[in-house]
């Protein structure tokens, strides 16, 4: 029936451009899931039989670190900011954990140190952005230099560099239950619920939207933006640290530049997911789908047997196409 309706010149009201527009604007997740399914269908067409339960498990496992890093971008972008330090912070967390595994405290101590260091970086960024009003792009960019440099110094200071990723992190990051369900969901599902509910149901979440939408109005209504921003960037850095631990477990490596290549995809996933880089609009649900889309897209381009350069070119073009479609449909400039 819907096919009939869409081909006939006189379309019913719910299929007009306005209706589509409001669908995109209010429920961006619907068309995004559609795009995801289309990509999956293309993969199935190109290589019949590849799509299955275990394949889905692999895709989900690969998407989880990206989805967490994209969460950092979503939260900061809601306030009109961005976090360019997630790559450096994530790498640092994975690396510090790997170097401290054989310390007396063992893995828990190593993870605690790594996450404390991450939180500290976030705290400094937050103070710079919230109190000193430094542009988030500059503050987090500067912070990424600082974190990268200090990680390199730490690399030269520590004698035992060959410790490698601890087994527990490997199990968490790359292990699966019955070879299908990735273990990292144990970390991801609570985080996801926390972010989703935090954004929708708590005052803090509402403050993020308010500050991003109209900082002056938020201030006049009594929101203390600087406190919100400090907490926000600490949360963002902690999320990045956790993602770094998972990436380190997934790839079984620990290096000071491990997660650097995830920085730009994390911004892309958030943008594809419908979060406005200008602030005030978006959500985490779309971001998760965005991360899945990017992962499936990478898988599709690999299945097509395209060489790496072509993959990069298509990757970039598709990001622009999706973002442009968004902007066109929602009418936001």
């Amino acid at each position: 029936m819907s096919e009939l309706a869409s081909t006939s010149p006189e379309r019913p009201g719910w299929l007009t451009g306005t209706a589509w527009r409001s669908l995109f604007r209010d429920r961006p997740i619907v068309p995004l899931v559609g795009l995801l399914l289309v990509l999956v269908a293309i993969i199935q067409l190109v290589q019949p039989g590849i799509v299955g339960v275990s394949w889905a498990g692999v895709i989900v496992r690969a998407s989880i670190p990206l989805a967490i890093l994209a969460g950092c971008q979503t939260l900061t972008m809601l306030t009109g900011g961005i976090d360019l330090s997630v790559g450096a912070v994530a790498s640092m967390a994975g690396f510090v954990t790997a170097t401290l595994v054989h310390s007396p405290g063992g893995v828990p101590f190593a993870v605690a140190v790594a996450l404390t260091a991450a939180a500290l970086a976030g705290l400094i960024s937050g103070i710079g952005i919230g109190v000193f009003r430094v542009h988030p792009l500059i503050m987090t960019l500067g912070m990424s230099f600082v974190v990268l440099g200090l990680s390199n110094v730490w690399q030269l200071e520590t004698i035992q560099t060959g410790a490698g990723t601890p087994d527990s992190l490997r199990t968490l990051g790359s292990g699966t239950v019955f070879g299908i369900v990735p273990n990292s969901l144990v970390v991801f599902i609570p985080l996801m619920l926390l972010i989703l509910l935090g954004l929708r149901r708590t005052g803090f979440g509402r403050l993020l939207y308010a500050i991003g939408d109209n900082p002056v109005a938020a201030r006049l209504s009594g929101a203390r933006a600087w406190q919100v921003l400090i907490v926000l960037y600490v949360i963002s850095a902690l999320l990045a640290g956790i993602a770094g631990l998972l990436i380190s477990g997934l790839t079984n490596t620990a290096s000071v530049s491990l997660a650097d290549s995830s920085l730009l995809p994390s911004v892309a996933a958030s943008v594809i997911g419908g979060t406005s880089i200008l602030g005030g609009r978006g959500g985490y649900g779309g971001t998760i789908v965005g991360a899945l889309i990017l992962t499936v897209l990478t898988a599709l381009l690999t299945v097509l047997g395209l060489p790496e350069p072509t993959r990069q070119i298509l990757f970039g073009s598709i990001i622009i196409a999706v973002a442009a479609a968004y902007t066109r449909v929602t009418g936001e400039t």
Partner: protein, 329 residues
């Protein structure tokens, strides 16, 4: 009376000049202090080191000018590093084993390529109305992919005259050719641009897009042209990479983010409409000198990266504090 007024009118512009360029002048003073410090801690710092400094900063300096043009226009270009990689491999592949005459054609062609790359970036920003940062971020993948298609691994060559243009001294030993190249290029392209109608329009759309639109500035066209100039300067930066290393590498260097850092350090507001290209160029030298000095002081070079980050944050914090004071006072 006439003499006094003549002196006044002569003095006043200098005062205005100093006030308008306060940021750049203090940066310049900082640089001179840094140079003096370098001479103290390393008495052997001489002409050879200065020539090396000139050659090593040229690519980043040109990338920074590229970034400055678009940031002044209220945008940002995260694909500069990738455009440099692409133009560098194209020029190196074209010039390999060819003579000087062909080298000239290759350079002209690569500059044309830079204009095209910038035009595509700018066209996409204007037509799709997607925020600049997203478009150029995505295009950085595209241009890096194109660079890998042209040459999968570092290679190629540079025409002898091109290497000759950026390496070594000119006149006395203390003046590196690269510095002269930088100044000449900027003088030929930037100064006429900044003084033209288009330059004023770029500042206008960066300062207040709506006001510029209502004053009759074609915002889309101006933004597009700003990106075209950024593409041109990126191609120049890519060419200087080829010239100074003798080969082209398809892997983008750290130039994109460093250029953003240098632009902000140089007094260009990320919000647009404020600053010039001279301050950012001084900032590039400052960043490089800090690295050099830390090497001389036998400090772990990784701490130089930390220092660059701290200085970036510190300077911007100081700047915004001054701004806050001023708006409150």
């Amino acid at each position: 009376m006439t003499a006094a007024s003549a002196t006044l009118s002569r003095v006043a512009p200098i005062g205005t000049l100093a006030r308008r360029n306060g940021w750049t002048l203090s940066l310049l003073a900082f640089l001179i202090g840094l140079l003096a410090l370098t001479k103290v801690i390393q008495p052997g710092y001489g002409p050879i080191a200065v020539q090396g400094l000139g050659t090593s900063i040229l690519p980043l300096a040109l990338a920074t000018v590229a970034q400055a043009v678009v940031v002044i226009g209220g945008g940002i270009d995260l694909s500069i590093g990738s455009m440099m990689a692409l133009t560098s491999v194209v020029s190196a592949s074209a010039m390999k084993g060819q003579g000087n005459e062909f080298g000239v054609a290759a350079v002209v062609g690569v500059l044309g390529l830079g204009l095209v790359l910038g035009a595509i970036n700018g066209g996409l920003v204007v037509v799709t109305r997607v925020p600049d940062i997203v478009v150029t971020l995505a295009m950085s993948f595209v241009w890096a992919g194109c660079a890998l298609l042209v040459a999968p691994r570092p290679g190629g060559g540079a025409a002898p005259w091109l290497k000759d243009v950026v390496l070594g001294p000119i006149g006395i030993d203390w003046i590196p050719k690269a510095a002269i190249v930088l100044i000449v290029v900027v003088a030929i392209v930037w100064i006429p641009l900044a003084r033209s109608r288009l330059g004023l329009e770029i500042y206008a759309i960066g300062s207040n897009q709506l006001a510029a639109f209502r004053s009759g500035v074609s915002v889309g066209r101006t933004k597009f042209l700003a990106y075209v100039f950024t593409g041109l300067f990126s191609a120049l930066a890519g060419l200087s990479l080829t010239a100074s290393t003798g080969i082209g590498s398809p892997v983008p260097g750290p130039y994109t983010l460093l250029s953003v850092a240098a632009v902000v350090l140089g007094g260009v507001s990320l919000a647009g409409g404020r600053g010039g290209v001279f301050g950012p160029m001084v900032a590039v030298v400052v960043l490089q000198m800090i690295r050099t000095d830390m090497t001389f002081l036998n400090i772990n070079t990784n701490l130089a990266v930390v220092a660059q980050g701290v200085i970036l944050i510190g300077v911007v914090m100081f700047g915004s504090l001054v701004q806050l004071r001023r708006t409150r006072g």
